[in-house]
Symmetry: C2
Subunit: 368 residues, 2 copies
């Protein structure tokens, strides 16, 4: 029986680790005491099994648990549930990695566009890409559309909604998407180059169909989604449908003890994110360079033939750090600068142009 | 402007707390430096404000941040995003509580049935309720339906799917729900009393409509959902629709840095859970009695006129602990015993009957 292998870090005395690992294997699949599992189909095809235990560098134990593929099939929510559903409630366990057979990975499908498809949509064949965010919540659609036009004239490649923009009174989803789309079309008529707009697609199962229909009608080609808020099923639905390029946002993704490189890197890629946004080291978030390196590796490394996904470092970046960022990630990256552009006030477009130029210049100096 | 107030525990030196709290207020709403926020509508109606800072018992600082109601409106995902979206990625912050004005709480609506409605559906006016789970994954629908019939004959009030049962090859959702429904109808014909069945409703936005239609067609009256996996929007949709009683499951809610009483108590109740399942102290999960007490309080205490929701302690309970549990929670509780019943093997029904009797006996000894 082919299995997925999940790797957990157990913060328990070494002598307790074997029993603790066995308890996780049961908890995450049958939720029964071992002696109550007697059916041969359940034992062979569903029950988790401990397949490795080794001391970790920090005194913790790394436990490898194999889950038979039928336990989750091709269901993204069940995959998450089997990996960490109940165990997320236990404070002595972290989920740090997973290994999945090629056929199962390809059944989930991964990014439908990936780096190459995003480059094609944005019209950027080789250099690092640029992204800016429309914000803040509370502004009117036309004001945000004005920012979008300024970014587009400045040569920014991708313009996305802030994740605080959904459907508030000051700025309804439909009004914003229509206004921004129109503004970007007008700029494209002037400049001959159209920025890629990624509205923030959130909502409940009852709200989503109307929002998706609106996007299709306006020929919007990309969205940003928060898989850990709206549900990983939305990410996977959109990837399977294949119409929209998908930027994954990490909102609420830090709430459980899961390695960022695994959740925002491997898992979001597996479920179809074409790009994954995360805080780069040294900004407002206390992430290390090693975490960001691992996350970018999980997004871009060869993996069962799935398309590579684009890392999108963000979180308090300033223009001054661009050469450092492009050296760190190489050209297959999208740099997202948010708040610091808005400090320029009336000089927003000028500051965005400096951003775009700095990224192009930094790209010329590194190999891809 | 009315506001929601969120309470965070900041693990930073006391001297850094004012700036850290201010940074959270910005991060969770405008995601901009303060000096870039100049629009009066944004300042008054959307921007978060620090309204209190006090030393906590553990050397941390408790920060109170007020979020104007328009920043999230009546959108459950935006509520979660504003409370903890990006901040969940920052390791020095915990979300511990929220206070919400009555009108805003009533706009979300809370439980549509609550304790009284669940008691009516289950036909249990006064004593503590009992629940058992169908498991494990990998068994055929008819086998699980046999367990359901045994539980029903034994007098168990609520029978729910394990959260590991979705739509796997061995047991498709439709086959399971049909088989269990039929089995419970047959038992009701014999005994005159019908157990309440709560299938596990999971799935992506594209999968859910067909599953919901099936449930409506079979006159299923309750479901279990995992808001932190399938999305809190599903919970809120189901509550607004009002057809189904809702048991919330804590899968992936192990929000190391969100207080369980807040997430599984207050927030799930606010969004419409009629009952909330959680691990009781002393079982397989390392939760304390104080955590469970606070959680039960948040579910049941008077709160802006919202219906109270039923606490459902679970997680490795044994029959021996029933008197203690009923004394701890009182009669407004549903005791969920899972795995330990299955250890009885062929004596499953007999063991379930002992469970039901023990709960009735324990209920008679405590005041409601």
């Amino acid at each position: 029986m082919d299995t997925l292998v999940a790797v957990y870090r157990l913060h328990v005395p070494a002598g307790d680790a074997p029993a603790r690992a066995e308890a996780i294997a049961l908890e995450q699949t049958v939720e029964l005491p071992r002696e109550a599992v007697t059916d041969p189909v359940v034992e062979a095809g569903y029950l988790g099994r401990v397949v490795g235990l080794e001391p970790g560098p920090d005194g913790a134990t790394l436990a490898r648990i194999a889950y038979p593929l039928p336990s989750f099939g091709d269901d993204p929510l069940l995959l998450l549930g089997v990996l960490f559903g109940n165990t997320s409630l236990q404070p002595d366990v972290e989920l740090v990695d997973l290994e999945i057979p090629g056929a199962a990975a390809r059944a989930f499908g991964g990014p439908r566009r990936g780096i190459a498809g995003l480059r094609e949509l944005a019209g950027v064949p080789d250099r690092a890409l640029t992204a800016a965010a429309l914000k803040p919540m509370g502004l009117a659609p036309e004001t945000l559309a004005g920012f979008a036009a300024a970014f587009a004239r400045a040569g920014i490649d991708v313009i996305k909604d802030d994740q605080g923009l959904v459907d508030q009174e000051a700025c309804r989803f439909e009004d914003r998407v229509r206004a921004v789309t129109r503004a970007l079309e007008r700029v494209a008529d002037e400049t001959g180059r159209k920025a890629l707009y990624a509205p923030y697609l959130s909502g409940s199962p009852r709200e989503l169909p109307a929002r998706l229909e609106l996007l299709a009608g306006l020929d919007v080609r990309a969205v940003m989604v928060s898989p850990m808020l709206a549900g990983a099923g939305l990410l996977h639905d959109l990837a399977r449908e294949g119409r929209l390029a998908i930027l994954a946002h990490p909102s609420w993704a830090g709430a459980a003890r899961v390695a960022p490189a695994l959740l925002l890197g491997r898992i979001f890629r597996l479920l179809g994110a074409d790009a994954s946004i995360f805080p780069h080291a040294g900004g407002r978030f206390a992430w290390t360079a090693a975490t960001c390196r691992a996350l970018a590796d999980r997004l871009r490394e060869p993996w069962h033939g799935l398309a590579p996904a684009l890392p999108v470092p963000a979180g308090g970046m300033t223009l001054e750090r661009i050469p450092e960022l492009v050296r760190f990630y190489g050209r297959d990256v999208m740099l997202l600068v948010g708040g610091s552009l808005y400090l320029a006030g009336d000089r927003l477009e000028e500051r965005a142009r400096e951003f775009a130029r700095a990224v192009a210049a930094a790209s010329a100096e590194v190999s891809r």
